[in-house]
């Protein structure tokens, strides 16, 4: 064949149109992995660095709480449910107790409600500090981990001084909070109220927490590389978030000013002045930023609550053996991770007939197949970290 301009042109075109045969690879991220917040398995099909199908496989931490609670009495259920979202232990107990008290039509003393509120906000600060520690670590910055966890120790020490446990307080009782007994006592006489110095110590700790939030913000917020990794990554439109049930800081970062503390009355939040923090874009940076600001708001709420805490009983009068009358109710609360709710069906017995636990991370995690489509592998880590879920909360 003669080689002329036309032939050469044709040959060059043929070269270009032959595609390189590449295979895509199935990559298992997890269940043991440094960044999956627990035992989560993502089956990702990747083509080079771009993944185009991510399926989460969960259930490695399924402990069967809903079935377990059917064979337990109400006080026994409170011993296990603070292990659902173990990072913010106290916040898991409150909606359940409120649901049981609603069915019993109990009036909880104000002092107990204020104490519940203070401890819930401390749980929120603790959870958001863990997020601030682990999220930059997943992006590669190792130093905010130490700053944030150091502050968290203050909060955990306070929690331990009043409840006896750092992570799993089990401090709620039907009708209020647990009255403190003297040590070594085998009688039921209430000896003291809260530990001496708890309220003053909490006030000081909140001031230190506010300072450290400034430090964290200075370290992380203007860092160009963090901005490059998180700005515009993993944008979550509010309509999609609502359809999937994504709640909490994730929803607020997409611009929806929805905070259950303002709309529900499970705790007396209406007495306090705090902002609902929202952001505009719904990307990873906004989710990080919203959580950082929420620490500030929680510290302010705690300071206001300490200043105005009323005196009174810690627990209403309840019978020794608690039977909750027949009925059903659903109580939802603003947990650090999102909306946590308990749907309680009672048949008049000592334990629930059916307890459905609506956990925030379950819905937050269900958005992963949608949000992870067509993005790069490092962004998987960035987006997963910014959704801030805990596998105990997902699997229950």
């Amino acid at each position: 064949m003669t080689i002329d301009a036309d032939t050469i042109h044709h040959l060059s075109e043929v070269q270009v149109s032959v595609e390189l045969q590449t295979e895509d690879m199935t990559l298992n991220i997890g269940p043991q992995h440094p960044s999956t917040h627990g035992v989560l398995r993502l089956v990702a099909r990747v083509d080079g660095e771009r993944c185009f199908d991510v399926q989460p496989v969960i259930g490695y931490m399924h402990r069967g709480y809903e079935k377990l609670s059917e064979v337990r009495t109400y006080p026994q259920v409170t011993t296990i449910i603070n292990r659902i979202d173990w990072v913010s232990g106290y916040a898991n107990e409150v909606p359940f107790i409120v649901a049981a008290e609603k069915l019993m039509e109990l009036e909880v003393p104000e002092r107990a409600q204020f104490i519940r509120l203070i401890l819930t906000e401390m749980a929120r600060i603790s959870s958001h500090l863990v997020f601030n520690a682990s999220y930059p670590l997943e992006l590669g910055a190792a130093t905010p981990l130490f700053f944030a966890l150091r502050e968290r120790e203050r909060v955990l020490d306070l929690l331990e001084s009043v409840t006896g446990g750092r992570f799993h307080p089990n401090f709620n009782r039907i009708g209020g909070v647990k009255p403190a007994y003297g040590s070594g006592s085998t009688t039921r006489k209430q000896l003291q109220d809260l530990p001496a110095g708890f309220l003053g110590g909490t006030r000081n700790a909140m001031e230190k927490v506010l300072e450290s939030v400034d430090q964290l913000e200075a370290l992380v917020a203007d860092n160009e590389i963090i901005l490059a990794r998180t700005r515009g990554v993993g944008v979550l439109p509010p309509e999609v978030a609502a359809a999937y049930g994504v709640s909490g800081p994730n929803l607020r970062a997409s611009g929806v000013p929805f905070d259950l503390r303002k709309t529900q009355d499970y705790l007396p939040y209406d007495r306090f002045d705090f902002k609902v923090v929202t952001a505009e874009n719904g990307d990873c940076w906004d989710r990080w930023w919203v959580r950082l600001q929420e620490i500030r708001e929680s510290a302010k709420i705690i300071q206001q609550a300490i200043d105005s805490i009323p005196s009174g009983d810690l627990q209403a009068k309840v019978p020794k053996v608690i039977k909750v009358p027949k009925g059903e109710t659903y109580v939802r609360a603003e947990n650090p991770k999102g909306e946590m709710g308990y749907y309680l069906v009672s048949d008049g017995g000592q334990g629930p007939y059916r307890l459905k636990i609506r956990s925030a991370s379950f819905s937050n995690l269900s958005i992963l197949p949608w949000i992870l489509e067509g993005i790069l592998v490092p962004d998987i880590i960035a987006i997963m970290g910014s959704l801030d879920f805990v596998l105990g909360d997902v699997d229950r």
Binding site: L27, L139, R229
Partner: protein, 334 residues
């Protein structure tokens, strides 16, 4: 003294001595810098760092780590490509050790003053790249493979700015021999960093990327790929990689100090004092640069692969070209 001088004038004896010295320097330098990293990072994070090993300062920590690595079981994955797997860490270490040959520690303290000193240094440091690729491929592990692929892209991309950044210094000095560049700076009376700031910054960034240190840590990416191309390495093979990273920090900083900061020379110090003080001055400059590298590692998160490549191709390479053009023009005119 005469006996020693006679002994060392024999080529083979002096060669053996030099080899021994180089072989001892690498672990020593690696341990010192590793220890510095542990203590400095602890200081930046409100911690204490190594405390118990060897008394109050924990100075024996890395010696203990070395011994620990040596006595571990040698695990090679079943599906791994055995010869490649075994040879990869050695290749990385060779790339590092061979760099020490051309670094001038004093006016006559250099292992071998090659005429193409800097050219040789840059060429031989790319051997480590092949070693990393071999490690990633032969490990029979998808995470290692991804790490190896990322390393391929990153290391090749950052070779260019590394090479182009030193051209400015070479133009100013007029020679590629490392000793010659230092002597040119002594003659000129100022370290080249004063006019080659751009080149210096580009070189340091590219050196960080060649070392795969944070912020250019994608091939390892501990929180994503477990350990990237190093995932399957344990025991003394991992020790080779580990030492190679720290020793490479030393050698890259030494090259930067030689080309830009004046090497073993400080203004105002006479020649004969430099014979003794030269190494100390050079090591001081090197540790300054190493401190900056450690500081960056613990402050910044890591770049994503495409951002990293964008930085290299769209910013560093054009800047380096502009730097060369300006330097050459000014050298001709002035």
């Amino acid at each position: 003294m005469d006996l020693l001088a006679d002994l060392f004038s024999n080529f083979w004896v002096s060669l053996g001595g030099k080899l021994l010295l180089v072989a001892m320097m690498i672990p020593l330098v690696g341990m010192v810098i590793g220890f510095a990293e542990m203590k400095l990072s602890a200081k930046m994070q409100y911690r204490v760092g190594p405390y118990f090993a060897g008394g109050r300062w924990g100075w024996a920590q890395l010696i203990a780590d070395g011994v620990k690595f040596f006595q571990k079981e040698d695990i090679i994955p079943d599906d791994a490509d055995r010869p490649v797997f075994k040879f990869a860490p050695i290749l990385v270490l060779i790339g590092t050790v061979a760099l020490l040959v051309v670094i001038p520690f004093g006016p006559s303290l250099i292992f071998r003053d090659l005429d193409v000193g800097i050219f040789y240094a840059l060429a031989i440091s790319s051997l480590s790249t092949i070693g990393i690729l071999m490690a990633g491929w032969s490990s029979a592990n998808k995470y290692s493979l991804i790490g190896g692929l990322r390393a391929a892209g990153q290391l090749i991309a950052y070779e260019l700015p590394l090479v182009l950044a030193v051209v400015g210094s070479v133009i100013l000095a007029g020679t590629m021999s490392m000793q010659g560049i230092v002597e040119a700076q002594i003659e000129a009376g100022y370290p080249y960093v004063i006019f080659q700031v751009v080149g210096f910054v580009i070189f340091m960034i590219a050196a960080l990327a060649e070392l795969t240190r944070i912020p250019f840590d994608m091939p390892i990416a501990e929180s994503e790929l477990v350990m990237g191309y190093l995932t399957e390495y344990s025991g003394f093979r991992f020790l080779f990689f580990f030492l190679a990273e720290f020793a490479n920090m030393f050698t890259m900083s030494a090259i930067a100090a030689t080309l830009f900061l004046g090497g073993y020379w400080l203004p105002g110090i006479p020649e004969d004092v430099l014979e003794f003080a030269g190494p100390i001055i050079l090591i001081a400059k090197v540790f300054l640069l190493v401190f900056v590298m450690i500081w960056f590692r613990w402050t910044f998160p890591r770049f994503r692969e495409d951002q990293l490549q964008g930085l290299a191709w769209r910013w560093l390479v054009p800047l380096a070209f502009v730097n060369i053009a300006v330097t050459a023009t000014l050298k001709v005119l002035l």
